[in-house]
Symmetry: C2
Subunit: 137 residues, 2 copies
DNA sequence: CAATCTGTAACGTTTATCAATACAGTATAG
DNA sequence: CTATACTGTATTGATAAACGTTACAGATTG
């Protein structure tokens, strides 16, 4: 699994805990243990889809734009990692019936697998994640 | 998704179509478009789990050991790719409640996701794959 | 206009993946 | 019993993907 996915979840969870003020990419990066630029890249995707708002300049940063229960892990997966599940087959031999058709057969199966995974991930919203984090404490 | 997974499926499908004779790693490699050594590595895992048999020396190679419908994609996933779904989080900040606990929360969720995926993959046996390949022709 | 932040592009480094080589072990054929 | 054709596996090297880092333009505030 793509680590953009976990960075997005991490960031959103952090924003969920700071509902009243802007959080900077540096603050989030320090919690997640990555470089601030990487946070900004991932969050710019989330912004594009309306999950968060951002503001430049002094006192700027990122803030949640929706209710916590309106964003689930499947939404985040689709934005950050769609197609990741799909195996990357090497170019196989077109003159062999298996080589020629395996890729499209697996592609179809993995499309189904991704949908199936989606049904599971939809059950976890950011609110659930926040609750699980708090339970750990 | 790990490409060992697709190589294993590819190899088993080929073996399924050659039930009466040994197939060499070179033959399989040519169909799959990879190096024979890679095929031998993947197939040695499948052998270890009893799905295929192998024989060294002249006239040797690999052959299916079970009925086609006794091997499904979840079996193959577990052998070649278990844990692949699990996201690799960077080491996050232990002094932050989110950083300290996110990894274990996600780990648990993804264990569930892998089980869920398993239920889907169990529905596809090598026999089904062979049928799908033949339908394409 | 100086300071602080996002937004992105570009570059370099590290890490994962894979091909390739090498060679020991084993079966078969003549 | 030796040449040939395989598997089995370790190791090395090349290629590609992931990630950190730097750089800088644009926006906002004081």
């Amino acid at each position: 699994m793509n680590s953009d996915f976990t960075l997005a979840i991490h960031s959103l969870t952090l924003l969920a805990l700071q509902p009243d003020r802007m959080s900077t990419s540096e603050y989030i990066a320090e919690s997640a243990g990555v470089h601030p630029v990487r946070i900004r890249k991932v969050l710019s995707l989330l912004k594009k889809h309306g999950f968060i708002k951002s503001k430049e300049g002094t006192g700027g940063g990122f803030i949640f734009a929706l209710d916590l229960s309106e964003v689930n892990l499947w939404d985040i997966y689709k934005i950050t990692s769609e197609g990741t599940l799909q195996p990357k087959c090497p170019e196989s031999n077109e003159r062999c019936i298996v080589g020629a058709n395996m890729q499209s057969v697996l592609f179809t199966i993995f499309l189904g697998a991704e949908d199936h995974l989606g049904e599971y991930l939809k059950d976890y919203t950011i609110r659930e994640i926040v609750d699980l984090i708090n339970q750990k404490e």
